[in-house]
Structures are given as structure tokens and as C-alpha cells.
Symmetry: C2
Subunit: 158 residues, 2 copies
């Protein structure tokens, strides 16, 4: 298990900046790492390791899956990448600088990604009430959305 990265996400506006950030930490800027980063920059949603290693369905050159996992972990330790679990599927990886938190409906499966400030009031309320400052960027807020909510009993069976 990866030790969770503490502190703000490492911002790198493009692949080259991210590669430079790696070098700055004494890590090597390899071709495989560049590929993983390119996939992350090209993806518009969090993507599985498999999809990343596959170059987003072949749009980019593919890299080895085991190396992709290793690199995603390294990038996560460095603070360039984070990963989410939106449901029962594989973990999904995204650029850390694309800060998002998630709300998922367990009825229709709809995923809503919001910027963190959107949930700040909620975060503060939880912190005040329970002594924990929550983040919903690893496990989402899961529930029934209003469209999926079952209507009142007497309306379902008149």
C-alpha cells in the first residue's frame, strides 16, 4: 500500500514540467514514465492502470502494465498523481493537480466530480461535528440521487 501523500498536490501544467519535477526529486525521467503521464494528461476522467498502460485504447503508445502500476505509485508518492475508488471496479488514477471530489449515485451510477471548494462547507461541518476533516477524493460520497429515490409508498402502489 502506498503511504498517502501529505500536503498540497504537486502542480505540473504539462508533461515536461512533471518530468522535471521527477528529476528534481532525484527520480529518473524515463520513457515509460512519460507515457503514463501523457495518458493522464490526455484522459478527461480518472483512468484505470490498464487503460493508462493501454495508451487510452491505443491513442498513445502502450506501456507495460506492471511498470504502469509502479510508476503510478511513484507518481502518487511524489504528489503528482492520486487514485480514487468510485465503485467495485479497478482503482482509477488522475493527475493530482486536477483536484476533484466525487459524488456517486448507487441507483443510476451517475458520477459527479466537483472542485473541492464546492464541498468546503460540508467539510467544515464534518470537522466541527466529528473532529475529522474529510476528503471525498478517494472514496466518493455515495447515495441515492433524487431521480433514483423511490417515491413515497402510497404512490408506488395506489
Amino acid at each position: 500500500m502506498t503511504a498517502p501523500h501529505t500536503g498540497p498536490p504537486l502542480a505540473a501544467p504539462h508533461v515536461d514540467a512533471a518530468m522535471a519535477a521527477l528529476r528534481a526529486r532525484g527520480l529518473r525521467a524515463s520513457a515509460a514514465r512519460r507515457l503514463v503521464l501523457e495518458a493522464l494528461y490526455a484522459a478527461d476522467e480518472p483512468a484505470s492502470a490498464e487503460r493508462i498502460a493501454g495508451g487510452l485504447e491505443g491513442r498513445l503508445p502502450r506501456s507495460d502494465l506492471a511498470s504502469a502500476y509502479r510508476n503510478l505509485e511513484t507518481l502518487e508518492q511524489v504528489g503528482l498523481v492520486r487514485h480514487v475508488h468510485l465503485g467495485h471496479g479497478p482503482g482509477l488514477y488522475a493527475l493530482a493537480e486536477r483536484e476533484r471530489e466525487y459524488l456517486v449515485c448507487d441507483g443510476c451510477g451517475a458520477v459527479r466530480a466537483v472542485k473541492p471548494h464546492v464541498l468546503d462547507p460540508l467539510r467544515n461541518a464534518v470537522r466541527a461535528g466529528f473532529g475529522i476533516e474529510p476528503r471525498f477524493d478517494h472514496f466518493p460520497i455515495v447515495g441515492r440521487c433524487d431521480e433514483c429515490a423511490p417515491p413515497a409508498r402510497e404512490e408506488t402502489t395506489p
Copy 2:
């Protein structure tokens, strides 16, 4: 993947009642099912399928792991059981009637299980603000607890 059970948890105050509930649904009250239920009643925390099949470290007779998974799924469909993911480990199973929601610190790993009414204000706030009625009984609220929160920058390195 199990279709999520809708509606209130099926309450069965003891193993025999749970077995009766199974029969009432046309399912069979088998020895293996009784064992899974006995483990669930005996466990004081959500337990992995492995631990359940192992009879809670041998305190109860063990059952087959694959059958335990099958039975846990069946029991979940019926509404007697639910399962949680508290971290990166295996899924954990509990009696549905033991309604709990979870808060986990990603610093120290502390798990807090609270009765649902405790989070009702929070639930209502999320519902009002985001059109989704959240439950934290499948994925917990994850964050940094006050003890684990890093102190202000100038205090860490004077």
C-alpha cells in the same frame, strides 16, 4: 456484482430468526448458511469473508470460502447482510440490522462506527445541497482526524 438491496434492513434478532427469514423467501436453511450467520452474529465488527469462513479464527466451525461468498451475497440480496470497504483490504460483512456508518482517519487508521441518526444532519445537508442522500455504510467518510492533522507550518520546523 450484487444488486444493491433497497429498503430497510431485514431485522432478525438471532440466527434462528434469520434462518426463518430465509425460508420465508423460499431459500433454504442450510448448515453452511447457519454458520455464516453465526459468525456474523458473533463478530463485533464487520468481518472479511475469509474470517467468516474461518469461523472467526476457529471459534466456530469453518465453512467453505466460496460458499461463504455465495451465501454472503444471497444474504445481502435478501437484506440481512451488508458489506463495507473501509480501506484497501478485503470487503467486510456485517448484519444489516446492525446499522452503522463509518468515519476513518487516513493518518492513524482509526475507525469510528456510528449509528445512522448521528449523521442525519449531515445527510440532510448533503441532500439539500447536492440532491443526493448519502450513506456512509459502504464507503466511509475518510479524512485526517484532529490528532493526526499536521500542526501549522511554523510549529513543525521552528
